[in-house]
């Protein structure tokens, strides 16, 4: 059974052609054979998954139709799930069992989805390769010596390798789009506030977003229809109504005005990626879209901006990990201060410490205005670049990342090199606009390449409509997976 189409799976389950238990067993079997090599999952509870599937089958048999009936979903380890350990792939949360479900996870399960496991990620979502996980490194299914991307690498691989039909990841600075591009699947970062952050472990509260992975735009639309929308538990969740993206996909595609931001096609862009994206631009024209070059002059400051704002917010959000109420507590400390220090130092990995330190520095007295204050103003300018662009175009088209998946260990020596792989993605996080990575082909070496499309705030339907039209007109033939 191929688990690559959530819409078809839920139709089959609702129609009684297949049971949710059969689908869950297929997912578990694929996980058992592929995951010892890929290492996408950090927590699996087959008993729980099968019990949930049996529940769904009972509901279906009693005449109930569910939007995600029997669909196997993988959930990133920084999203709280009541029955499953949620550790953010950090030692400091080893064995932590959340006392509540994230809103997104709860909505999935109430819609009949089966959570098959929690996926590997960079520790506290800090990273661009999933190599910062305290637990394991996830391998790219197209080349086992290469990274899955990050921070949501496990979720991207779970979908790419057919272990789940869809997955939830999260973005603070490109962490859904980049692994989607590296693994050849679709990844959506919705508008900030579209999906509730309740239960998404906070990294940088003004940037964090939950985002889905899937094999096609229709499945992204389906997921959005279930998990998006205002939540009373998240004061930053938006009350702007969620459009019926599935219905929007059925409308005929008439062509859009596309802006091509010149700053995303500069010197650092790898030749293979440039060629693939160039072809995609020509394909977009063939679809009836008009292309215009636009300029977004503050793009070059986005990484520096992000690497002040995100660590600053993280230094505040991660202050709660102190060994008092949950998680790891260092033994033998005589006083509270020492306990904090030892618990945090032993519990956090090096990248997390680096970011806490940068953030603390940027917020410290004497530096606050020069760093954090300045960064917030540059953020306004980045946001205005988008506002200005969208006055004249419907969509922006760009690469997702300067390169395809790099080798495991290739960028771990120099943190700054790793940060620079987010150069085309963090802008959308800073501006709060929705963006999508769609798989458009492979490099000559057989590595996936994604195309990035960005739309104005709350315009996810535009992204999905373009992606659907593009996928129909220009299907991609993937080489065989290595597993």
């Amino acid at each position: 059974m191929k688990l690559d189409n959530a819409c078809e799976l839920r139709d089959a389950v609702n129609d009684g052609r297949v049971t949710a238990v059969e689908v869950a067993k297929a997912a578990c079997a694929r996980m058992q054979s592929a995951d010892p090599i890929l290492k996408a999952f950090v927590a699996v509870d087959t008993v729980r998954a099968l019990a949930c599937a049996a529940e769904v089958d009972r509901a279906v048999q009693s005449g109930k139709s569910m939007p995600l009936a029997g669909v196997p979903v993988a959930v990133k380890d920084n999203i709280c799930t009541r029955g499953l350990a949620t550790t953010c792939c950090s030692r400091i949360l080893e064995g932590f069992l959340p006392p509540y479900d994230a809103t997104a996870a709860g909505r999935l399960e109430r819609a009949g989805a089966i959570i098959v496991g929690k996926t590997n990620c960079d520790e506290f979502a800090m990273g661009s390769s999933t190599e910062n996980s305290a637990l394991q490194v996830t391998r790219n299914p197209y080349d086992l010596e290469r990274v899955a991307g990050g921070s949501s690498g496990g979720s991207a691989v779970a979908v790419a390798a057919g272990m789940a039909a869809v997955a939830l990841g999260s973005e603070t600075g490109g962490s859904v789009r980049q692994p989607a591009s590296f693994c050849g699947v679709y990844g959506l970062k919705p508008t900030y506030g579209r999906i509730s952050r309740y239960g998404l472990v906070a990294f940088a509260s003004s940037l964090d977003c939950i985002g889905p992975f899937a094999h096609n735009p229709r499945d992204l639309a389906l997921l959005l229809s279930v998990i998006a929308g205002w939540d009373e538990h998240d004061a930053t969740s938006s009350s702007v109504p969620v459009p019926d993206c599935l219905a929007a996909l059925d409308e005929p595609f008439a062509g859009l005005r596309i802006g091509v931001p010149r700053e995303y096609f500069g010197a650092g862009l790898d030749g293979d990626v440039r060629e693939a994206v160039g072809q995609a631009l020509r394909n977009a024209e063939a679809l009836g879209c008009s292309l215009t070059e636009v300029s977004m002059p503050h793009t070059e400051y986005a990484i520096a901006d992000y690497y002040i704002i995100a660590p600053a917010e993280a230094s505040s959000n991660l202050a709660r990990y102190d060994g008092v109420r949950y998680g790891f507590r260092a033994a033998g400390a005589d006083d509270l201060g020492l306990m904090y220090q030892r618990s945090r130092s032993a519990g956090f990995g090096p990248e997390v410490k680096r970011r806490i330190m940068i953030g603390t520095y940027a917020l410290s007295s004497g530096y606050y205005e020069a760093y954090y204050g300045r960064a917030l103003r540059v953020r306004t300018l980045i946001r205005r670049d988008f506002d200005r662009a969208f006055e004249n175009v419907d969509l922006l088209l760009a690469p997702v990342s300067p390169t395809a998946a790099f080798r495991i260990g290739e960028k771990t020596e120099d943190p700054l090199q790793m940060y620079l792989s987010d150069i085309y993605t963090v802008t959308a996080n800073l501006a709060g606009v929705p963006a999508l990575s769609l798989p458009i082909g492979f490099t000559p070496a057989g590595l996936p390449v994604g195309l990035q499309i960005i739309a104005g705030r709350f315009q996810e339907a535009v992204l999905l409509r373009f992606a659907e039209a593009y996928a129909k007109a220009f299907p991609v033939t993937a080489p065989a997976l290595k597993v």
Binding site: F96, L97, P99, Y100, Y192, G193, S205, S206, L207, E232, A235, T236, S237, S238, S239, H298, Y301, A304, Y307, I308, S315, D322, G323, V324, R325, Y326, G327, F328, R329, D334, D335, L336, L338, M339, Y340, Q341, R344, P350, K353, R354, I356, M357, I358, T360, Y361, S364, Y371, A375, L376, R377, V378, T380, L381, R383, P415, L416, L430, G432, V433, R457
Partner: protein, 97 residues
């Protein structure tokens, strides 16, 4: 952009983190490199620009609720993952000597 070892130690104190000597050396180096890159932001003319604290939609009225008490997390649930606790509180080492 010269960040001294002493400054790094002071920040570590604020962040309740401790480093070994070797960790500290690598750390100071990486810190310098990252902060050096961030200096780029000084090139931007921010005169008269308002800060953006977060990217939410300006008209959104969804953030307030009525002041009505609701049930909260039960004490037993709150204590469930605690490393050390009493019947209704978390237990920690001496706060001050």
């Amino acid at each position: 952009m010269a960040v001294t070892r002493e400054e790094v130690l002071k920040i570590a104190g604020l962040a309740r983190l401790q480093f070994s000597e070797t960790e500290l050396d690598t750390f100071v180096e990486q810190f310098q490199s990252i902060l050096g890159y961030i200096e780029k932001l000084k090139e931007v003319d921010i005169d008269g620009v308002e800060p953006t604290s977060y990217a939410a939609h300006a008209d959104d009225k969804s953030m307030f609720r009525g002041d009505t008490p609701q049930p909260s997390l039960p004490v037993a649930e709150a204590l469930r993952d605690a490393p050390d606790h009493g019947h209704d509180h978390f237990r920690v080492p001496t706060v001050m000597k």
